[in-house]
Subunit: 214 residues, 2 copies
DNA sequence: TGACAAACCGACCGATCGTGCTTTTAATGG
DNA sequence: CCATTAAAAGCACGATCGGTCGGTTTGTCA
Protein backbone atom coordinates (compact mmCIF):
# COMPACT_ATOMS: atom_id res chain seq x y z
CA UNK A 1 0.00 0.00 0.00
CA UNK A 2 0.87 3.61 -0.21
CA UNK A 3 3.02 4.93 2.59
CA UNK A 4 1.17 7.12 5.04
CA UNK A 5 1.32 10.51 3.42
CA UNK A 6 0.21 12.64 6.31
CA UNK A 7 0.19 16.29 5.40
CA UNK A 8 3.29 18.27 6.25
CA UNK A 9 5.55 15.39 7.11
CA UNK A 10 8.91 16.96 6.67
CA UNK A 11 10.98 14.37 8.43
CA UNK A 12 9.38 11.28 6.99
CA UNK A 13 9.74 12.64 3.51
CA UNK A 14 9.59 10.13 0.71
CA UNK A 15 12.06 10.16 -2.11
CA UNK A 16 9.58 11.58 -4.56
CA UNK A 17 8.63 14.45 -2.32
CA UNK A 18 12.23 15.31 -1.81
CA UNK A 19 12.92 15.29 -5.52
CA UNK A 20 9.88 17.42 -6.13
CA UNK A 21 11.17 20.01 -3.71
CA UNK A 22 14.56 20.00 -5.41
CA UNK A 23 12.93 20.44 -8.81
CA UNK A 24 10.83 23.40 -7.74
CA UNK A 25 13.77 24.94 -5.96
CA UNK A 26 15.87 24.81 -9.12
CA UNK A 27 12.91 26.00 -11.13
CA UNK A 28 12.70 29.12 -9.01
CA UNK A 29 16.29 29.93 -9.84
CA UNK A 30 15.70 29.46 -13.54
CA UNK A 31 12.51 31.50 -13.50
CA UNK A 32 14.31 34.37 -11.83
CA UNK A 33 16.84 34.32 -14.64
CA UNK A 34 14.94 33.65 -17.84
CA UNK A 35 11.44 34.57 -16.81
CA UNK A 36 8.43 32.44 -16.22
CA UNK A 37 7.52 31.37 -19.71
CA UNK A 38 11.17 30.75 -20.47
CA UNK A 39 11.24 27.87 -18.02
CA UNK A 40 11.73 24.73 -20.10
CA UNK A 41 11.47 21.12 -19.04
CA UNK A 42 14.77 20.17 -20.63
CA UNK A 43 16.83 22.87 -18.98
CA UNK A 44 15.16 22.27 -15.65
CA UNK A 45 15.80 18.54 -15.84
CA UNK A 46 19.45 19.14 -16.57
CA UNK A 47 19.67 21.57 -13.67
CA UNK A 48 18.01 19.11 -11.31
CA UNK A 49 20.19 16.25 -12.58
CA UNK A 50 17.25 14.28 -13.87
CA UNK A 51 16.09 13.00 -17.19
CA UNK A 52 13.33 14.93 -18.85
CA UNK A 53 10.86 12.11 -18.47
CA UNK A 54 11.93 11.48 -14.91
CA UNK A 55 11.16 15.04 -14.09
CA UNK A 56 7.98 15.03 -16.10
CA UNK A 57 6.63 12.13 -14.04
CA UNK A 58 6.29 14.51 -11.10
CA UNK A 59 4.06 16.94 -12.99
CA UNK A 60 1.62 15.68 -15.53
CA UNK A 61 1.98 18.87 -17.56
CA UNK A 62 4.04 21.99 -17.83
CA UNK A 63 1.15 23.99 -16.55
CA UNK A 64 1.11 21.94 -13.38
CA UNK A 65 4.81 22.58 -13.01
CA UNK A 66 4.26 26.30 -13.37
CA UNK A 67 1.49 26.17 -10.83
CA UNK A 68 3.78 24.34 -8.45
CA UNK A 69 6.45 26.96 -8.85
CA UNK A 70 3.99 29.78 -8.32
CA UNK A 71 2.65 28.12 -5.20
CA UNK A 72 6.14 27.68 -3.80
CA UNK A 73 6.80 31.32 -4.55
CA UNK A 74 3.68 32.33 -2.67
CA UNK A 75 4.66 30.14 0.26
CA UNK A 76 8.07 31.74 0.51
CA UNK A 77 6.58 35.17 0.16
CA UNK A 78 4.18 34.49 2.98
CA UNK A 79 6.97 33.12 5.13
CA UNK A 80 9.51 35.86 4.53
CA UNK A 81 7.30 38.90 4.20
CA UNK A 82 3.82 38.47 5.59
CA UNK A 83 4.43 36.36 8.68
CA UNK A 84 7.21 38.51 10.15
CA UNK A 85 4.85 41.46 9.85
CA UNK A 86 1.98 39.64 11.53
CA UNK A 87 4.35 38.83 14.35
CA UNK A 88 5.06 42.51 14.90
CA UNK A 89 2.82 44.70 17.08
CA UNK A 90 -0.27 46.06 15.44
CA UNK A 91 -0.35 49.54 14.00
CA UNK A 92 2.47 51.48 12.49
CA UNK A 93 5.22 49.05 13.60
CA UNK A 94 3.58 46.24 11.69
CA UNK A 95 3.42 48.36 8.57
CA UNK A 96 7.08 49.24 8.92
CA UNK A 97 8.01 45.58 9.15
CA UNK A 98 5.80 44.82 6.19
CA UNK A 99 7.59 47.45 4.17
CA UNK A 100 11.07 46.45 5.27
CA UNK A 101 10.52 42.76 4.66
CA UNK A 102 9.16 43.34 1.19
CA UNK A 103 12.09 45.60 0.49
CA UNK A 104 14.42 42.80 1.53
CA UNK A 105 12.42 40.35 -0.54
CA UNK A 106 12.85 42.47 -3.63
CA UNK A 107 16.50 43.16 -2.95
CA UNK A 108 16.88 39.42 -2.83
CA UNK A 109 19.35 38.32 -0.25
CA UNK A 110 18.95 34.89 -1.79
CA UNK A 111 19.73 34.08 -5.39
CA UNK A 112 16.30 35.23 -6.51
CA UNK A 113 16.34 38.45 -8.46
CA UNK A 114 13.54 40.81 -7.74
CA UNK A 115 9.94 40.03 -6.98
CA UNK A 116 9.01 37.12 -9.18
CA UNK A 117 5.35 37.59 -8.40
CA UNK A 118 5.44 40.99 -10.04
CA UNK A 119 7.39 39.57 -12.94
CA UNK A 120 4.91 36.75 -13.37
CA UNK A 121 1.93 39.08 -13.16
CA UNK A 122 3.23 40.98 -16.16
CA UNK A 123 3.86 37.80 -18.10
CA UNK A 124 0.33 36.56 -17.57
CA UNK A 125 -1.59 39.79 -17.68
CA UNK A 126 -3.47 38.97 -20.85
CA UNK A 127 -3.65 35.23 -20.42
CA UNK A 128 -7.22 35.41 -19.23
CA UNK A 129 -8.45 32.20 -17.69
CA UNK A 130 -5.00 30.68 -17.34
CA UNK A 131 -4.77 28.88 -13.98
CA UNK A 132 -1.43 30.44 -13.21
CA UNK A 133 -2.90 33.87 -13.76
CA UNK A 134 -5.88 33.16 -11.54
CA UNK A 135 -3.62 31.92 -8.79
CA UNK A 136 -1.49 35.04 -9.07
CA UNK A 137 -4.49 37.33 -8.99
CA UNK A 138 -5.72 35.69 -5.84
CA UNK A 139 -2.34 35.88 -4.16
CA UNK A 140 -1.91 39.54 -5.01
CA UNK A 141 -5.40 40.34 -3.85
CA UNK A 142 -4.52 38.69 -0.56
CA UNK A 143 -1.38 40.78 -0.40
CA UNK A 144 -3.35 43.96 -1.00
CA UNK A 145 -5.70 43.00 1.79
CA UNK A 146 -2.80 42.34 4.13
CA UNK A 147 -1.66 45.91 3.58
CA UNK A 148 -5.12 47.41 3.88
CA UNK A 149 -5.91 45.47 7.03
CA UNK A 150 -2.62 46.43 8.57
CA UNK A 151 -3.45 50.03 7.81
CA UNK A 152 -6.83 49.54 9.44
CA UNK A 153 -4.98 48.18 12.44
CA UNK A 154 -2.96 51.37 12.56
CA UNK A 155 -6.18 53.33 12.57
CA UNK A 156 -7.50 51.23 15.42
CA UNK A 157 -4.36 51.72 17.47
CA UNK A 158 -4.60 55.45 16.89
CA UNK A 159 -1.46 55.78 14.83
CA UNK A 160 -3.35 56.70 11.69
CA UNK A 161 -6.16 59.14 11.30
CA UNK A 162 -9.62 57.63 11.27
CA UNK A 163 -10.66 58.93 7.88
CA UNK A 164 -7.75 57.31 6.06
CA UNK A 165 -8.71 55.35 2.96
CA UNK A 166 -6.94 52.07 3.63
CA UNK A 167 -7.27 50.88 0.03
CA UNK A 168 -5.74 54.08 -1.19
CA UNK A 169 -2.99 53.56 1.36
CA UNK A 170 -2.38 50.08 -0.02
CA UNK A 171 -2.23 51.44 -3.54
CA UNK A 172 0.47 53.94 -2.74
CA UNK A 173 2.29 51.54 -0.42
CA UNK A 174 2.65 48.95 -3.14
CA UNK A 175 3.40 51.56 -5.78
CA UNK A 176 6.47 52.66 -3.86
CA UNK A 177 7.65 49.07 -3.67
CA UNK A 178 6.98 48.29 -7.31
CA UNK A 179 8.99 51.32 -8.23
CA UNK A 180 11.78 50.09 -6.03
CA UNK A 181 11.83 46.83 -7.93
CA UNK A 182 12.22 48.80 -11.13
CA UNK A 183 14.85 51.22 -9.90
CA UNK A 184 16.87 48.62 -8.04
CA UNK A 185 16.53 45.52 -10.18
CA UNK A 186 16.40 47.03 -13.62
CA UNK A 187 17.89 50.50 -13.48
CA UNK A 188 20.49 49.36 -10.95
CA UNK A 189 20.36 52.66 -9.11
CA UNK A 190 22.34 52.67 -5.91
CA UNK A 191 20.03 55.04 -4.07
CA UNK A 192 16.81 53.23 -4.92
CA UNK A 193 16.31 52.01 -1.37
CA UNK A 194 16.72 55.51 0.02
CA UNK A 195 14.13 56.81 -2.41
CA UNK A 196 11.75 54.05 -1.45
CA UNK A 197 12.23 54.69 2.25
CA UNK A 198 11.75 58.42 1.79
CA UNK A 199 8.54 57.84 -0.12
CA UNK A 200 7.34 55.45 2.56
CA UNK A 201 8.18 57.92 5.32
CA UNK A 202 6.14 60.52 3.47
CA UNK A 203 3.26 58.11 3.10
CA UNK A 204 3.37 57.30 6.80
CA UNK A 205 3.50 60.93 7.80
CA UNK A 206 0.50 61.96 5.80
CA UNK A 207 -1.42 58.95 7.08
CA UNK A 208 -0.84 59.80 10.71
CA UNK A 209 -3.22 61.68 12.88
CA UNK A 210 -3.44 65.48 12.79
CA UNK A 211 -0.90 65.55 10.02
CA UNK A 212 -2.55 68.49 8.28
CA UNK A 213 -4.77 71.21 9.63
CA UNK A 214 -7.68 72.24 7.44
CA UNK B 1 -0.28 46.71 -58.05
CA UNK B 2 0.22 49.62 -55.74
CA UNK B 3 -1.45 48.70 -52.53
CA UNK B 4 -2.20 52.18 -51.25
CA UNK B 5 -3.25 50.80 -47.92
CA UNK B 6 -5.15 53.29 -45.87
CA UNK B 7 -2.73 52.50 -43.07
CA UNK B 8 -0.24 55.35 -42.74
CA UNK B 9 1.08 55.64 -46.24
CA UNK B 10 4.23 57.66 -46.33
CA UNK B 11 4.97 59.31 -49.64
CA UNK B 12 8.52 58.59 -50.76
CA UNK B 13 8.48 55.16 -49.17
CA UNK B 14 9.95 52.18 -50.98
CA UNK B 15 8.37 48.77 -50.83
CA UNK B 16 10.89 47.42 -48.39
CA UNK B 17 10.47 50.29 -46.01
CA UNK B 18 6.73 49.87 -46.06
CA UNK B 19 6.97 46.17 -45.35
CA UNK B 20 9.36 46.81 -42.55
CA UNK B 21 6.86 49.14 -40.95
CA UNK B 22 4.10 46.60 -41.33
CA UNK B 23 6.27 43.92 -39.74
CA UNK B 24 7.14 46.02 -36.73
CA UNK B 25 3.56 47.13 -36.36
CA UNK B 26 2.38 43.52 -36.22
CA UNK B 27 5.26 42.66 -33.93
CA UNK B 28 4.07 45.24 -31.44
CA UNK B 29 0.70 43.56 -31.31
CA UNK B 30 2.25 40.16 -30.74
CA UNK B 31 4.61 41.44 -28.09
CA UNK B 32 1.74 42.96 -26.19
CA UNK B 33 0.07 39.56 -26.15
CA UNK B 34 2.77 37.00 -25.60
CA UNK B 35 5.53 39.12 -24.16
CA UNK B 36 8.79 40.19 -25.61
CA UNK B 37 10.75 36.97 -25.62
CA UNK B 38 7.72 35.12 -26.85
CA UNK B 39 7.90 36.94 -30.15
CA UNK B 40 8.81 34.31 -32.74
CA UNK B 41 9.82 34.77 -36.36
CA UNK B 42 7.38 32.18 -37.63
CA UNK B 43 4.31 33.60 -35.95
CA UNK B 44 5.27 37.11 -36.91
CA UNK B 45 5.78 36.13 -40.54
CA UNK B 46 2.38 34.51 -40.64
CA UNK B 47 0.82 37.58 -39.09
CA UNK B 48 2.51 39.87 -41.60
CA UNK B 49 1.62 37.55 -44.49
CA UNK B 50 5.22 36.81 -45.31
CA UNK B 51 7.42 33.79 -45.46
CA UNK B 52 9.80 33.29 -42.59
CA UNK B 53 12.83 33.91 -44.78
CA UNK B 54 11.19 36.85 -46.50
CA UNK B 55 10.70 38.48 -43.18
CA UNK B 56 14.12 37.53 -41.95
CA UNK B 57 15.72 39.36 -44.86
CA UNK B 58 14.68 42.65 -43.28
CA UNK B 59 16.52 41.97 -40.03
CA UNK B 60 19.75 40.10 -40.09
CA UNK B 61 19.01 38.62 -36.66
CA UNK B 62 16.27 38.26 -34.14
CA UNK B 63 18.05 40.64 -31.85
CA UNK B 64 17.91 43.32 -34.54
CA UNK B 65 14.21 42.69 -34.86
CA UNK B 66 13.75 43.09 -31.13
CA UNK B 67 15.75 46.29 -31.19
CA UNK B 68 13.58 47.58 -34.01
CA UNK B 69 10.44 46.84 -32.07
CA UNK B 70 11.81 48.51 -28.96
CA UNK B 71 12.77 51.58 -30.93
CA UNK B 72 9.34 51.82 -32.49
CA UNK B 73 7.85 51.50 -29.03
CA UNK B 74 10.01 54.34 -27.78
CA UNK B 75 9.04 56.47 -30.77
CA UNK B 76 5.36 55.97 -30.11
CA UNK B 77 5.82 56.63 -26.44
CA UNK B 78 7.59 59.88 -27.18
CA UNK B 79 4.88 60.87 -29.62
CA UNK B 80 1.89 60.00 -27.50
CA UNK B 81 3.12 60.83 -24.03
CA UNK B 82 6.16 63.08 -23.94
CA UNK B 83 5.46 65.49 -26.78
CA UNK B 84 1.92 66.42 -25.76
CA UNK B 85 3.31 67.27 -22.35
CA UNK B 86 6.10 69.40 -23.77
CA UNK B 87 3.47 71.25 -25.77
CA UNK B 88 1.61 72.14 -22.59
CA UNK B 89 2.52 75.19 -20.50
CA UNK B 90 5.39 74.78 -18.09
CA UNK B 91 4.77 74.01 -14.46
CA UNK B 92 1.96 72.05 -12.95
CA UNK B 93 -0.14 71.92 -16.15
CA UNK B 94 2.65 70.15 -17.97
CA UNK B 95 2.92 67.59 -15.20
CA UNK B 96 -0.80 67.00 -15.32
CA UNK B 97 -0.64 66.36 -19.03
CA UNK B 98 2.33 64.09 -18.55
CA UNK B 99 0.38 62.08 -16.03
CA UNK B 100 -2.82 61.94 -18.04
CA UNK B 101 -1.09 60.94 -21.23
CA UNK B 102 0.82 58.16 -19.58
CA UNK B 103 -2.38 56.99 -17.96
CA UNK B 104 -3.97 56.84 -21.40
CA UNK B 105 -0.90 55.09 -22.76
CA UNK B 106 -1.18 52.38 -20.12
CA UNK B 107 -4.92 52.07 -20.49
CA UNK B 108 -4.23 51.45 -24.13
CA UNK B 109 -6.72 53.15 -26.36
CA UNK B 110 -4.97 51.29 -29.15
CA UNK B 111 -4.69 47.54 -29.31
CA UNK B 112 -1.60 47.55 -27.13
CA UNK B 113 -2.12 46.18 -23.67
CA UNK B 114 -0.39 48.07 -20.93
CA UNK B 115 3.02 49.68 -20.98
CA UNK B 116 5.24 47.40 -22.99
CA UNK B 117 8.32 49.29 -21.85
CA UNK B 118 7.64 48.26 -18.30
CA UNK B 119 6.91 44.73 -19.43
CA UNK B 120 10.13 44.60 -21.39
CA UNK B 121 12.18 46.02 -18.55
CA UNK B 122 11.13 43.12 -16.36
CA UNK B 123 11.93 40.59 -19.06
CA UNK B 124 15.43 41.90 -19.53
CA UNK B 125 16.31 42.87 -16.00
CA UNK B 126 19.04 40.33 -15.60
CA UNK B 127 20.17 40.16 -19.22
CA UNK B 128 23.15 42.35 -18.47
CA UNK B 129 24.86 43.66 -21.57
CA UNK B 130 22.03 42.75 -23.88
CA UNK B 131 21.54 45.55 -26.43
CA UNK B 132 17.79 45.57 -25.91
CA UNK B 133 18.31 46.01 -22.21
CA UNK B 134 20.74 48.86 -22.67
CA UNK B 135 18.35 50.62 -25.02
CA UNK B 136 15.54 50.23 -22.52
CA UNK B 137 17.64 51.53 -19.67
CA UNK B 138 18.52 54.62 -21.66
CA UNK B 139 14.93 55.26 -22.66
CA UNK B 140 13.67 54.90 -19.11
CA UNK B 141 16.40 57.15 -17.80
CA UNK B 142 15.28 59.74 -20.33
CA UNK B 143 11.73 59.30 -19.13
CA UNK B 144 12.77 59.81 -15.53
CA UNK B 145 14.56 62.98 -16.51
CA UNK B 146 11.51 64.24 -18.36
CA UNK B 147 9.54 63.94 -15.14
CA UNK B 148 12.25 65.49 -12.99
CA UNK B 149 12.81 68.38 -15.35
CA UNK B 150 9.10 69.03 -15.59
CA UNK B 151 9.00 69.14 -11.81
CA UNK B 152 11.89 71.58 -11.85
CA UNK B 153 9.84 73.65 -14.28
CA UNK B 154 7.02 73.68 -11.78
CA UNK B 155 9.43 74.94 -9.15
CA UNK B 156 10.59 77.67 -11.49
CA UNK B 157 7.06 78.78 -12.24
CA UNK B 158 6.32 78.91 -8.55
CA UNK B 159 3.82 76.08 -8.49
CA UNK B 160 6.04 73.84 -6.46
CA UNK B 161 8.03 74.68 -3.39
CA UNK B 162 11.67 75.43 -3.99
CA UNK B 163 13.08 72.72 -1.75
CA UNK B 164 11.28 69.90 -3.53
CA UNK B 165 13.48 66.94 -4.42
CA UNK B 166 12.64 66.51 -8.09
CA UNK B 167 14.15 63.04 -8.30
CA UNK B 168 12.07 61.96 -5.36
CA UNK B 169 9.07 63.47 -7.10
CA UNK B 170 9.84 61.47 -10.21
CA UNK B 171 10.14 58.30 -8.13
CA UNK B 172 6.72 58.67 -6.60
CA UNK B 173 5.19 59.93 -9.84
CA UNK B 174 6.25 56.86 -11.73
CA UNK B 175 5.44 54.56 -8.83
CA UNK B 176 1.81 55.65 -8.97
CA UNK B 177 1.71 54.91 -12.67
CA UNK B 178 3.43 51.54 -12.40
CA UNK B 179 0.90 50.58 -9.80
CA UNK B 180 -1.86 51.66 -12.14
CA UNK B 181 -0.49 49.33 -14.80
CA UNK B 182 -0.68 46.50 -12.28
CA UNK B 183 -4.11 47.29 -10.91
CA UNK B 184 -5.67 48.04 -14.27
CA UNK B 185 -3.94 45.63 -16.63
CA UNK B 186 -3.44 42.66 -14.36
CA UNK B 187 -5.86 42.92 -11.46
CA UNK B 188 -8.53 44.37 -13.76
CA UNK B 189 -9.82 46.65 -11.03
CA UNK B 190 -12.42 49.09 -12.24
CA UNK B 191 -11.41 51.89 -9.90
CA UNK B 192 -7.70 51.74 -10.63
CA UNK B 193 -7.72 55.04 -12.50
CA UNK B 194 -9.45 56.79 -9.60
CA UNK B 195 -6.85 55.44 -7.21
CA UNK B 196 -4.08 56.62 -9.46
CA UNK B 197 -5.57 60.07 -9.83
CA UNK B 198 -6.10 60.38 -6.11
CA UNK B 199 -2.50 59.41 -5.45
CA UNK B 200 -1.33 61.91 -8.03
CA UNK B 201 -3.47 64.66 -6.55
CA UNK B 202 -1.92 63.92 -3.18
CA UNK B 203 1.55 64.03 -4.69
CA UNK B 204 0.81 67.36 -6.33
CA UNK B 205 -0.62 68.85 -3.17
CA UNK B 206 2.34 68.01 -1.03
CA UNK B 207 4.70 69.29 -3.70
CA UNK B 208 3.07 72.67 -3.88
CA UNK B 209 4.25 75.76 -2.09
CA UNK B 210 3.57 76.42 1.58
CA UNK B 211 1.87 73.06 1.91
CA UNK B 212 3.68 72.28 5.13
CA UNK B 213 6.29 74.09 7.16
CA UNK B 214 9.28 72.01 7.96
C1' DT C 1 13.41 -11.35 1.95
C1' DG C 2 10.24 -11.14 -1.62
C1' DA C 3 6.86 -8.47 -3.93
C1' DC C 4 5.13 -4.41 -5.65
C1' DA C 5 4.70 0.28 -6.46
C1' DA C 6 7.14 4.52 -6.89
C1' DA C 7 10.83 6.74 -9.15
C1' DC C 8 13.49 7.21 -13.00
C1' DC C 9 15.70 6.60 -17.61
C1' DG C 10 16.56 6.56 -22.87
C1' DA C 11 14.63 6.80 -27.04
C1' DC C 12 11.51 8.95 -29.67
C1' DC C 13 7.54 11.98 -31.64
C1' DG C 14 5.86 16.01 -34.31
C1' DA C 15 6.22 20.79 -34.12
C1' DT C 16 8.65 24.93 -33.94
C1' DC C 17 12.67 27.60 -33.01
C1' DG C 18 16.34 30.94 -35.39
C1' DT C 19 19.10 31.12 -39.41
C1' DG C 20 21.53 30.24 -43.44
C1' DC C 21 21.63 29.49 -49.05
C1' DT C 22 19.57 29.54 -53.55
C1' DT C 23 16.09 30.80 -56.64
C1' DT C 24 12.19 33.34 -58.21
C1' DT C 25 9.41 37.37 -58.37
C1' DA C 26 8.57 42.22 -58.23
C1' DA C 27 9.94 47.08 -58.18
C1' DT C 28 12.79 50.61 -60.01
C1' DG C 29 15.69 53.53 -63.01
C1' DG C 30 17.86 54.74 -67.42
C1' DC D 1 11.33 48.27 -72.47
C1' DC D 2 14.82 46.16 -70.70
C1' DA D 3 18.47 45.65 -67.29
C1' DT D 4 19.60 46.12 -62.73
C1' DT D 5 18.50 45.65 -58.19
C1' DA D 6 15.62 44.95 -54.29
C1' DA D 7 12.28 41.90 -52.06
C1' DA D 8 10.30 37.74 -51.11
C1' DA D 9 9.89 32.77 -51.47
C1' DG D 10 11.55 27.96 -51.20
C1' DC D 11 14.01 24.78 -48.91
C1' DA D 12 16.78 22.76 -45.56
C1' DC D 13 19.73 22.58 -41.28
C1' DG D 14 20.50 21.58 -36.38
C1' DA D 15 18.61 22.54 -32.01
C1' DT D 16 15.06 22.56 -28.76
C1' DC D 17 10.29 22.59 -27.47
C1' DG D 18 6.45 19.90 -24.59
C1' DG D 19 5.12 15.34 -24.25
C1' DT D 20 4.67 9.87 -24.66
C1' DC D 21 5.97 5.10 -23.98
C1' DG D 22 8.12 0.83 -22.55
C1' DG D 23 11.23 -0.69 -19.68
C1' DT D 24 14.59 -0.62 -15.62
C1' DT D 25 16.16 0.70 -11.17
C1' DT D 26 15.20 1.64 -6.40
C1' DG D 27 12.75 2.39 -2.24
C1' DT D 28 9.37 0.57 1.03
C1' DC D 29 6.57 -2.52 3.56
C1' DA D 30 4.50 -6.87 4.71
Amino acid sequence: MRPAEAKGDIKGESKGEHTRRVIISRALGIVSEVGFEGLSIGTLAQEAKLSKSGLFAHFKSKEALQLGVVQELINRYTLQVVQPALAAPRGEPRLRVLFDKKLEWITGASELRGCLLQKASLEYDNRSGHPVRERLVQALQDWREVIARSAQGAIDTGHFRADLDTDQFAYEFDGILMMYQHRHGFMREHDAAERARAAFASLLERSQRRSRPR
